[in-house]
Protein backbone atom coordinates (compact mmCIF):
# COMPACT_ATOMS: atom_id res chain seq x y z
CA UNK A 1 0.00 0.00 0.00
CA UNK A 2 1.76 3.14 -1.22
CA UNK A 3 1.30 6.62 0.20
CA UNK A 4 -0.36 7.68 -3.06
CA UNK A 5 -2.89 4.88 -2.79
CA UNK A 6 -3.50 5.66 0.85
CA UNK A 7 -4.61 9.13 -0.17
CA UNK A 8 -7.65 7.55 -1.81
CA UNK A 9 -8.79 6.59 1.67
CA UNK A 10 -7.19 9.40 3.68
CA UNK A 11 -8.68 12.20 1.59
CA UNK A 12 -11.46 10.59 -0.43
CA UNK A 13 -12.95 12.44 -3.34
CA UNK A 14 -16.63 13.40 -3.08
CA UNK A 15 -18.93 10.78 -4.49
CA UNK A 16 -16.59 7.87 -3.87
CA UNK A 17 -17.29 4.83 -1.70
CA UNK A 18 -14.48 5.97 0.58
CA UNK A 19 -16.20 9.31 1.06
CA UNK A 20 -19.46 7.51 1.80
CA UNK A 21 -17.71 5.29 4.35
CA UNK A 22 -16.21 8.30 6.10
CA UNK A 23 -19.59 10.02 6.17
CA UNK A 24 -21.06 6.83 7.62
CA UNK A 25 -18.58 7.13 10.48
CA UNK A 26 -15.83 4.73 9.49
CA UNK A 27 -12.40 5.87 10.65
CA UNK A 28 -10.53 5.17 7.43
CA UNK A 29 -7.17 5.85 9.06
CA UNK A 30 -7.72 2.56 10.89
CA UNK A 31 -8.59 0.89 7.61
CA UNK A 32 -5.36 2.22 6.10
CA UNK A 33 -3.42 0.76 9.01
CA UNK A 34 -5.17 -2.58 8.52
CA UNK A 35 -4.52 -2.64 4.78
CA UNK A 36 -0.80 -2.11 5.40
CA UNK A 37 -0.72 -5.46 7.18
CA UNK A 38 -0.72 -8.88 5.57
CA UNK A 39 -3.83 -11.08 5.77
CA UNK A 40 -2.07 -13.27 8.34
CA UNK A 41 -1.19 -10.23 10.46
CA UNK A 42 -4.82 -9.09 10.24
CA UNK A 43 -6.01 -12.45 11.59
CA UNK A 44 -3.38 -12.36 14.33
CA UNK A 45 -4.66 -8.90 15.30
CA UNK A 46 -8.24 -10.12 15.31
CA UNK A 47 -7.37 -13.17 17.43
CA UNK A 48 -5.48 -10.98 19.87
CA UNK A 49 -8.53 -8.70 20.18
CA UNK A 50 -10.82 -11.71 20.70
CA UNK A 51 -8.52 -13.06 23.41
CA UNK A 52 -8.38 -9.68 25.16
CA UNK A 53 -12.16 -9.43 25.20
CA UNK A 54 -12.37 -12.96 26.59
CA UNK A 55 -9.99 -12.04 29.40
CA UNK A 56 -12.03 -8.94 30.20
CA UNK A 57 -15.23 -10.94 30.29
CA UNK A 58 -13.66 -13.57 32.53
CA UNK A 59 -12.38 -10.84 34.84
CA UNK A 60 -15.76 -9.18 35.08
CA UNK A 61 -17.44 -12.52 35.70
CA UNK A 62 -15.07 -13.40 38.55
CA UNK A 63 -15.59 -9.97 40.16
CA UNK A 64 -19.38 -10.24 40.08
CA UNK A 65 -19.64 -13.87 41.26
Amino acid sequence: MTKDKEELLRNPKPGTKAAAAREFGIDLTLTIERLRRTPEQRIRDLQSYINDIEKLRAGLKSRTS
Binding site: K17, A20, I26, L28, T31, R34, R42, I43, D45, Y49
Partner: protein, 163 residues
Amino acid sequence: MIEIRETLEFLTARAVEFIIIGGVAANIHGSTQATFDLDICYARNARNLERLGLALIDIHATLRNAPPDLPFRPDAETLRRGLNFTFNTDLGTLDLLGEVAGVGTFEDIVGACQTTELFGKHYSVISLPHLISAKRAAGRAKDLSALPELEAILEYQRNDQAT
Protein backbone atom coordinates in the same frame (compact mmCIF):
# COMPACT_ATOMS: atom_id res chain seq x y z
CA MET B 1 -15.08 -16.84 20.92
CA ILE B 2 -13.04 -18.71 18.39
CA GLU B 3 -9.52 -20.04 17.93
CA ILE B 4 -9.21 -19.09 14.29
CA ARG B 5 -5.89 -20.64 13.39
CA GLU B 6 -6.54 -23.88 15.25
CA THR B 7 -9.99 -24.28 13.69
CA LEU B 8 -8.77 -23.64 10.16
CA GLU B 9 -5.87 -26.03 10.58
CA PHE B 10 -8.10 -28.67 12.17
CA LEU B 11 -10.61 -28.58 9.30
CA THR B 12 -7.81 -28.64 6.75
CA ALA B 13 -6.16 -31.60 8.47
CA ARG B 14 -9.50 -33.41 8.16
CA ALA B 15 -9.57 -32.58 4.42
CA VAL B 16 -12.84 -30.65 4.77
CA GLU B 17 -13.70 -28.54 1.72
CA PHE B 18 -14.70 -25.08 2.90
CA ILE B 19 -14.53 -21.38 2.13
CA ILE B 20 -13.89 -18.72 4.76
CA ILE B 21 -16.77 -16.25 4.76
CA GLY B 22 -18.28 -13.73 7.18
CA GLY B 23 -16.39 -11.50 9.55
CA VAL B 24 -13.11 -13.41 9.40
CA ALA B 25 -13.15 -13.08 5.61
CA ALA B 26 -13.92 -9.38 6.02
CA ASN B 27 -10.88 -9.04 8.27
CA ILE B 28 -8.71 -10.88 5.76
CA HIS B 29 -9.83 -8.36 3.14
CA GLY B 30 -8.91 -5.50 5.47
CA SER B 31 -12.04 -4.67 7.46
CA THR B 32 -11.54 -3.31 10.97
CA GLN B 33 -14.85 -4.70 12.25
CA ALA B 34 -14.39 -7.30 14.97
CA THR B 35 -16.03 -10.70 14.92
CA PHE B 36 -16.20 -13.46 17.49
CA ASP B 37 -17.00 -16.48 15.40
CA LEU B 38 -15.78 -18.26 12.31
CA ASP B 39 -18.22 -18.66 9.42
CA ILE B 40 -17.50 -21.14 6.68
CA CYS B 41 -19.38 -22.27 3.59
CA TYR B 42 -18.97 -26.01 3.18
CA ALA B 43 -19.29 -28.30 0.19
CA ARG B 44 -22.31 -30.56 0.43
CA ASN B 45 -21.03 -33.56 -1.47
CA ALA B 46 -21.33 -36.88 0.40
CA ARG B 47 -17.60 -37.25 1.02
CA ASN B 48 -17.29 -33.78 2.51
CA LEU B 49 -20.34 -34.23 4.72
CA GLU B 50 -18.76 -37.41 6.06
CA ARG B 51 -15.44 -35.70 6.79
CA LEU B 52 -17.08 -32.63 8.29
CA GLY B 53 -19.43 -34.70 10.44
CA LEU B 54 -16.53 -36.70 11.89
CA ALA B 55 -14.59 -33.49 12.52
CA LEU B 56 -17.54 -31.86 14.29
CA ILE B 57 -18.01 -34.87 16.54
CA ASP B 58 -14.33 -34.78 17.48
CA ILE B 59 -14.52 -31.12 18.57
CA HIS B 60 -17.79 -31.82 20.44
CA ALA B 61 -19.93 -29.50 18.37
CA THR B 62 -23.26 -28.60 19.98
CA LEU B 63 -26.01 -26.40 18.64
CA ARG B 64 -25.79 -22.88 19.97
CA ASN B 65 -28.85 -21.66 21.88
CA ALA B 66 -30.41 -25.12 21.89
CA PRO B 67 -31.66 -26.81 25.06
CA PRO B 68 -28.79 -28.84 26.56
CA ASP B 69 -30.95 -31.95 26.71
CA LEU B 70 -31.84 -31.79 23.01
CA PRO B 71 -30.55 -34.97 21.39
CA PHE B 72 -28.15 -33.95 18.65
CA ARG B 73 -25.29 -35.59 16.82
CA PRO B 74 -23.55 -33.43 14.20
CA ASP B 75 -22.80 -36.28 11.83
CA ALA B 76 -23.02 -36.49 8.05
CA GLU B 77 -26.69 -37.43 8.12
CA THR B 78 -27.57 -34.43 10.29
CA LEU B 79 -25.62 -32.17 7.96
CA ARG B 80 -27.36 -33.68 4.94
CA ARG B 81 -30.80 -33.04 6.45
CA GLY B 82 -29.99 -29.46 7.39
CA LEU B 83 -28.22 -26.60 5.67
CA ASN B 84 -26.96 -23.85 7.97
CA PHE B 85 -25.81 -24.53 11.53
CA THR B 86 -24.45 -22.50 14.45
CA PHE B 87 -22.18 -24.48 16.75
CA ASN B 88 -20.24 -24.19 19.95
CA THR B 89 -17.16 -26.39 19.75
CA ASP B 90 -14.00 -27.11 21.72
CA LEU B 91 -12.33 -24.57 19.43
CA GLY B 92 -15.01 -21.90 19.78
CA THR B 93 -18.02 -20.69 17.89
CA LEU B 94 -18.27 -22.09 14.39
CA ASP B 95 -21.03 -21.37 11.91
CA LEU B 96 -21.53 -23.62 8.91
CA LEU B 97 -23.42 -22.40 5.88
CA GLY B 98 -24.46 -24.73 3.10
CA GLU B 99 -25.85 -21.77 1.23
CA VAL B 100 -24.96 -18.11 1.63
CA ALA B 101 -27.76 -15.61 1.06
CA GLY B 102 -27.06 -13.44 -1.93
CA VAL B 103 -24.31 -15.61 -3.42
CA GLY B 104 -25.31 -19.27 -3.20
CA THR B 105 -23.62 -22.56 -2.44
CA PHE B 106 -19.99 -23.63 -2.18
CA GLU B 107 -20.01 -24.52 -5.86
CA ASP B 108 -21.47 -21.12 -6.77
CA ILE B 109 -18.75 -19.13 -5.06
CA VAL B 110 -15.64 -21.31 -5.04
CA GLY B 111 -14.62 -20.31 -8.56
CA ALA B 112 -14.39 -16.64 -7.61
CA CYS B 113 -12.64 -17.21 -4.29
CA GLN B 114 -9.25 -15.79 -3.54
CA THR B 115 -6.56 -18.03 -2.13
CA THR B 116 -4.92 -16.55 0.95
CA GLU B 117 -1.90 -17.81 2.84
CA LEU B 118 -2.37 -17.91 6.59
CA PHE B 119 0.11 -19.52 8.96
CA GLY B 120 1.87 -21.32 6.14
CA LYS B 121 -1.23 -22.86 4.58
CA HIS B 122 -3.50 -21.77 1.77
CA TYR B 123 -7.19 -21.14 2.32
CA SER B 124 -10.10 -20.28 0.06
CA VAL B 125 -11.65 -16.95 1.04
CA ILE B 126 -14.86 -15.55 -0.38
CA SER B 127 -14.13 -12.76 -2.84
CA LEU B 128 -14.75 -9.23 -1.66
CA PRO B 129 -17.56 -8.59 -4.20
CA HIS B 130 -19.29 -11.81 -3.08
CA LEU B 131 -18.80 -10.91 0.57
CA ILE B 132 -20.42 -7.54 -0.03
CA SER B 133 -23.36 -9.21 -1.80
CA ALA B 134 -23.72 -11.68 1.07
CA LYS B 135 -23.69 -9.01 3.74
CA ARG B 136 -26.20 -6.93 1.81
CA ALA B 137 -28.49 -9.95 1.44
CA ALA B 138 -28.14 -10.92 5.11
CA GLY B 139 -29.50 -7.49 5.94
CA ARG B 140 -28.83 -7.56 9.67
CA ALA B 141 -27.66 -4.33 11.27
CA LYS B 142 -24.15 -5.67 11.85
CA ASP B 143 -23.89 -6.80 8.23
CA LEU B 144 -25.18 -3.53 6.83
CA SER B 145 -22.87 -1.52 9.07
CA ALA B 146 -19.89 -3.41 7.62
CA LEU B 147 -20.79 -2.50 4.04
CA PRO B 148 -19.45 1.07 3.74
CA GLU B 149 -15.93 0.05 4.76
CA LEU B 150 -15.95 -3.09 2.60
CA GLU B 151 -17.14 -1.08 -0.40
CA ALA B 152 -14.41 1.48 0.21
CA ILE B 153 -11.81 -1.30 0.33
CA LEU B 154 -13.16 -2.78 -2.90
CA GLU B 155 -13.01 0.64 -4.54
CA TYR B 156 -9.43 1.01 -3.32
CA GLN B 157 -8.46 -2.43 -4.63
CA ARG B 158 -10.01 -1.76 -8.03
CA ASN B 159 -8.25 1.57 -8.26
CA ASP B 160 -5.03 -0.18 -7.29
CA GLN B 161 -5.49 -2.72 -10.08
CA ALA B 162 -6.34 -0.05 -12.65
CA THR B 163 -3.14 1.92 -12.08
